[in-house]
């Protein structure tokens, strides 16, 4: 373990912006993608229901 404190962990030895910029965007897109797909699934189901009701 090379981190003495939490703030040191977030600073990443001065590379904080780059490291967290990479990991942050990666995490954000990988959360957003499944949510978008789930939305698509819901829309597909809704479209099928509407066509059935008609």
């Amino acid at each position: 373990m090379q981190w003495a404190s939490l703030s040191e962990f977030f600073a990443m030895g001065g590379y904080g912006f780059y490291v967290w910029g990479s990991f942050g965007v990666c995490a954000a897109t990988m959360v957003a993608e499944p949510l978008l797909v789930r939305h698509r699934q819901k829309m597909a189901i809704r479209a099928i229901r509407q066509s059935q009701d008609l």
Binding site: G13, V19, C26, Q41, I45, I48
Partner: protein, 247 residues
């Protein structure tokens, strides 16, 4: 012998995928947890690049996945063109956006790594350039697929394109490397760090496995949506529990 073609029918594949998705989400979370732990707490500080090198734990796996997904897409394309299965085209088009995402992530993290290490956001390095072209190949596939209205035709046209692409990827990589050496471009290599500790390798491998499980989970989810969109008025879709029960 198991009849594999049975699974290629959307009506059997849909519930099967539904069972597999949670398994792959769990796998992705587990691999990511261990991989991130190794990446941030076990792997030592790099002698030359300090803590900045930790970007490697997503940069390299993302690049691997972007290339691997393209090959898998081409595999499904070949299956689709030879066996005329509906599932193959759905799988190809379900994988493409995720592949493009990984190509983008590879470029993004590459830029964020290049800035502190080389002092510039972008270097016309052979690997980065090939990754950019791969990104364009993904965009081309998705644009072509979206531009053709009939989904079956879109699948088959996309299949031909991804096969042409997969033949060209090695040629493109070779030509870009050749071009790079001719022009004496950036000689600093991203991955060839002199002190490549084995913990680093393990971290990268685990993150790659996490991305792999993530890709399967998301692609299966998207394939399910595509099935519903395309086969909305068939009997098996109408009797799905997902469709019947109220939201």
């Amino acid at each position: 012998m198991i009849n594999w073609f049975k699974f290629s029918a959307p009506s059997t594949f849909y519930p099967l995928a539904g069972k597999l998705i949670p398994i792959f989400w769990t796998l992705a979370a587990l691999f990511a947890a261990v991989g991130l732990y190794i990446g941030f707490f076990v792997a030592p500080t790099d002698a030359q690049q300090g803590e900045g090198y930790r970007i490697i734990f997503i940069h390299v796996p993302a690049s691997w996945m972007s290339m691997f997904i393209y090959c898998v897409m081409a595999f499904w394309a070949l299956m689709g063109l030879t066996f005329q299965t509906r599932l193959s085209g759905m799988m190809s088009s379900a994988l493409a956006p995720t592949g493009a995402l990984f190509a983008f992530l590879s470029l993004w993290t590459g830029a964020l790594w290049g800035k502190p290490m080389w002092g510039t956001w972008w270097v016309w390095d052979a690997r980065l350039t090939s990754e950019l072209i791969l990104f364009f190949l993904y965009l081309g596939y998705m644009a072509l697929h979206a531009a053709i209205d009939d989904p079956r035709r879109a699948d088959r046209a996309g299949a031909v394109l991804s096969l042409v692409g997969v033949v060209n990827v090695p040629i493109i990589y070779f030509s870009v490397t050749w071009w790079n050496t001719l022009h004496q471009g950036a000689s600093v290599s991203l991955t060839k760090s002199p002190s490549m500790a084995s913990t680093m390798l393990w971290g990268m491998l685990l993150m790659a496995l996490a991305f792999w499980a993530y890709t399967i989970a998301v692609a299966l989810m998207r394939a399910r949506s595509i099935m519903l969109e395309r086969e909305g008025n068939t009997e098996w879709v109408k009797h799905l529990p997902d469709v019947k029960e109220a939201v």
